[in-house]
């Protein structure tokens, strides 16, 4: 019963976010017809384009049409190039996962480790790194590792018809650009919970019994960190996916983020909607999993 309610709530949230994105996109100045018409377009030409793209239909009708297709996996056609959105979406998502998954894993591992090792030390440094805009960080990484040292390419081009796995070296800098701020953010967030767990009697007891620090961290601290860690991980997944739009632009990496950025600039509503739906779904599933982890840990480990 509880599970069904949770899923229903998640589905409603998903729907509301999609609707919100649709409404906001429609509120942006200009539309796909104006963009496609370009310069020196007569009002008649813009009107003809608008009619051809069915942009004249009421917003609710267009959203309804989009939604009924989307639930069946049909994300419609791009307003700009006329091609179906779904194949592009899935291929771009796959390309982005080559960045997002490693960056997310690195951030989880190193963020947690840093939180446990540093505890209250290094707070200022973490704040600075966590607040560093990705575009600055990515630019800095390019200057140092591509321009000066020449270790990695300055743009991350993927072979035509291939996958990023064919050229793993192009992944290093964008993954770092995503992972570094995420690591610092997670470490900063987990410092409080770490301090709480560390102050518990069973940790002090283990330390007194002479259990090595690493074992204490793994066996006694980490299980109690699981609920906040799972929640932070879910938020982090959304954060990393969002940050790809900036990082992918800097590295000319053909992923979901760049797809979203160009779709917004050309008011390509079906593409914007599809990307937003995927990102929203990832975050919602992450939050649901995090909640489940929390419940499971409380049942197993108890209140401490």
């Amino acid at each position: 019963m509880g599970a069904a309610l949770t899923i229903a709530r998640a589905a409603l949230t998903f729907l509301l976010v999609c609707l919100l994105v649709f409404v906001i996109t429609n509120l942006l100045p200009g539309d796909a017809a104006v963009i496609a018409a370009g310069q020196r377009a007569s009002p008649e030409r813009i009107a003809a384009l608008r009619a051809a793209l069915r942009l004249d239909d009421p917003v609710w009708l267009r959203f309804g049409g989009w939604l009924s297709g989307a639930v069946r996996g049909d994300f419609g056609r791009s307003l700009l190039d006329g091609g179906p959105v779904a194949p592009v979406l899935w291929s771009r998502l796959g390309t982005t996962l080559y960045l997002a998954v490693p960056a997310w894993c690195l951030a989880l591992v190193f963020g947690t480790t840093l939180a446990i090792v540093l505890r209250s030390a290094g707070a200022a440094a973490l704040t600075v790194v966590a607040g560093l805009p990705e575009v600055v960080l990515a630019g800095g990484l390019v200057v140092v590792f591509a321009t000066w040292l020449g270790w990695f390419p300055s743009v991350s081009l993927v072979p035509v018809g291939g996958t990023p796995a064919d050229r793993p070296e192009v992944l290093v800098l964008p993954i770092l650009a995503l992972a570094l701020p995420a690591t610092a953010w997670l470490a900063r967030l987990l410092r409080g919970p770490v301090a709480d767990v560390m102050a518990r009697p069973f940790v002090a007891d283990a330390v007194l019994r002479g259990v090595p620090g690493g074992v204490v961290a793994f066996r006694h601290v980490l299980p109690h960190l699981a609920p906040p860690l799972a929640q932070a991980g879910a938020v982090l997944a959304g954060g990393v996916l969002t940050a790809t739009s900036v990082v992918e632009a800097v590295f000319a990496y053909p992923g979901l983020g760049q797809l979203l950025a160009s779709a917004v600039s050309t008011r390509d509503t079906p593409v914007i909607q599809a990307v937003a739906a995927v990102v929203t779904a990832v975050v919602l599933v992450g939050v649901l999993v995090a909640d489940a982890v929390g419940v499971w840990v409380v049942r197993r480990v108890g209140a401490g």
Partner: protein
């Protein structure tokens, strides 16, 4: 000993560095070399995937380059803005330039094996005509319903009005597909290359050995779209692509100072004119327009906006052949005019810097100008062609095409409100003049008149700038769509 060897190593390193720097200036390029791949990068600001339909809206430069490689066109842009043969070997018109016969080559074949016939050309032109809203009226004056195919190798095009410049107006844009084609996922063309693989970012084309023209030197052509111009410049600098097409003057300057890349210049490819509306105060007064035109320092604008990659010009679209007006003392006229707002947009970086500098120069001459920026999404419909004073953007489309778009009484979008029945008549008369030297003289006269009386302030033209690795040769240098035809390029590895 160890000291000696270290010095030797140092000398060797310096020698290598010097050799690396000297390489691009080596003038001896020798005869063309066959083989190899050209990795061509161009800006592709919009769209998740590359456009497949050659007749609709081609939003990105990378799409144009791919279409020009896959498909043949009737005519291509040649030197001095004249059309050169491609699929059409010759053409002629009646005495009023209203009926045109294009004779087609007999040896062109589609990559699927079938010969190219007049019916294919007519079908393709009909498709382009039917998609006029999408492609911005690419067929121009052609009355496609009245046009016919005669036999297999003659197309007769009729125009809605006399158009002696039709072959030039159509140059580079009439991509020919097999009769009946509506799906372009597996493109079938008769151009110098055919498609090998393609994904949402790039396309790989291979040489079409059945092309009728001179055998292209390249084995493969890789065309990649870049959403970010900066990433494109970075890609050619780091050797990830061989050519970065249409880069900013700043990127070209940087490349020139580091000396590792070749900068190719296509003259008079772009302009950012100042547009004064003739139907709005204060620019409805001819003396105010003349004063503004004589008050600007054109060379300073070319130096600042195009970083010297350009040339000053007279005040009309279509090239730098009309001389600029003599600069004069405009202070008394301008001082009497109240403050004005100059509207501009971030659509092209040069439009903001040009507007800022123009405002400064006019301010120094006594006219107070406030610059107001608009986002590209709203500028072209809400400020450009609406406000009394705004910045425009010109590419090197043929002058008659531009006139019909925006300078006739009947133009659907008139950017300065230039409406003059006398001009319309003179233009129509020039366009029905079949004799090319008499027509050229008539057009020059019209252009001088526009420059003197119009609301255009075309202070200069910037070059189209391509960056390439020193191993790349034969990049197009012609005007207009000549830039997207790459079959003469070769690479020395």
């Amino acid at each position: 000993m160890s000291l000696f060897s270290r010095r030797t190593a140092l000398v060797a390193v310096f020698g290598l560095v010097a050799a690396g720097c000297a390489a691009p200036t080596g003038a001896a390029q020798g005869p063309p070399v066959d083989g190899g791949t050209l990795r061509y990068g161009a800006v592709a600001a919009g769209g998740g995937s590359a456009v497949a339909d050659p007749h609709g809206s081609l939003f990105n430069e990378s799409d144009w380059v791919r279409m020009a490689a896959l498909y043949d066109v009737l005519t291509v842009p040649g030197r001095n803005g004249e059309a050169e043969p491609r699929l059409a070997t010759s053409w002629s018109s009646d005495a009023t330039a209203s009926t045109w016969r294009f004779e087609l080559r007999t040896d062109a074949v589609f990559s699927a094996g079938r010969p190219v016939r007049a019916a294919d050309v007519l079908f393709s032109l009909r498709r382009i005509g039917a998609k006029a809203a999408q492609n911005g009226g690419r067929l121009g004056t052609v009355d496609i319903a009245a046009s016919t195919a005669e036999g297999d190798h003659t197309v007769v095009l009729r125009t809605s009005q006399p158009d002696a410049e039709l072959p030039a107006a159509l140059a580079g844009v009439t991509f020919v597909v097999p009769d009946g084609t509506e799906n372009f996922d597996q493109p079938v063309g008769s151009g110098p290359f055919r498609l090998s693989t393609m994904d949402s970012q790039a396309a790989v084309l291979v040489r079409n050995d059945r092309w009728w023209g001179p055998r292209p030197h390249l084995d493969r052509l890789e065309i990649r779209g870049f959403a970010d111009p900066q990433a494109l410049a970075g890609a050619v600098t780091s050797g990830e692509v061989d050519v970065a097409a249409n880069v900013s003057p700043a990127a070209a300057k940087t490349a020139e100072t580091t000396g590792r890349l070749t900068v190719s210049r296509r003259p008079a490819a772009v302009a950012y004119p100042l547009l004064m509306r003739l139907d709005r105060a204060p620019f409805d007064r001819p003396e105010v327009r003349r004063a503004v035109k004589s008050a600007v320092d054109r060379q300073a604008l070319v130096d600042a906006v195009f970083l010297g990659y350009g040339k000053t010009s007279g005040d009309v679209q279509g090239g730098t052949d009309i001389p600029p007006p003599s600069s004069g003392d405009a202070g008394s006229t301008l001082a009497a005019v109240g403050p004005v707002v100059l509207h501009t947009t971030t659509a092209y970086p040069g439009m903001v810097s040009a507007a800022t500098l123009l405002a400064q120069q006019l301010g120094a001459a006594g006219l107070k100008v406030e610059v107001r920026q608009h986002p590209p999404e709203t500028y072209w419909t809400q400020a450009y062609g609406v406000e009394p004073l705004a910045m425009g953007y010109y590419t090197d489309i043929p002058f008659p095409v531009w006139v019909r778009q925006t300078a006739l009484s009947g133009s659907a979008f008139n950017e300065t409100g230039w409406r003059d029945p006398g001009f319309d008549a003179s233009f129509a008369s020039a366009m029905s003049t079949v004799d090319s030297s008499r027509r050229a003289a008539a057009l020059t006269q019209l252009r001088s008149r526009m420059a003197a009386d119009g609301g255009w302030l075309v202070w200069g033209y910037g070059d189209g700038l391509d960056l390439s690795s020193p191993s790349v040769h034969g990049l197009p240098t012609g005007a207009g769509f000549a830039r997207v035809f790459l079959e003469d390029v070769w690479v020395r590895r």
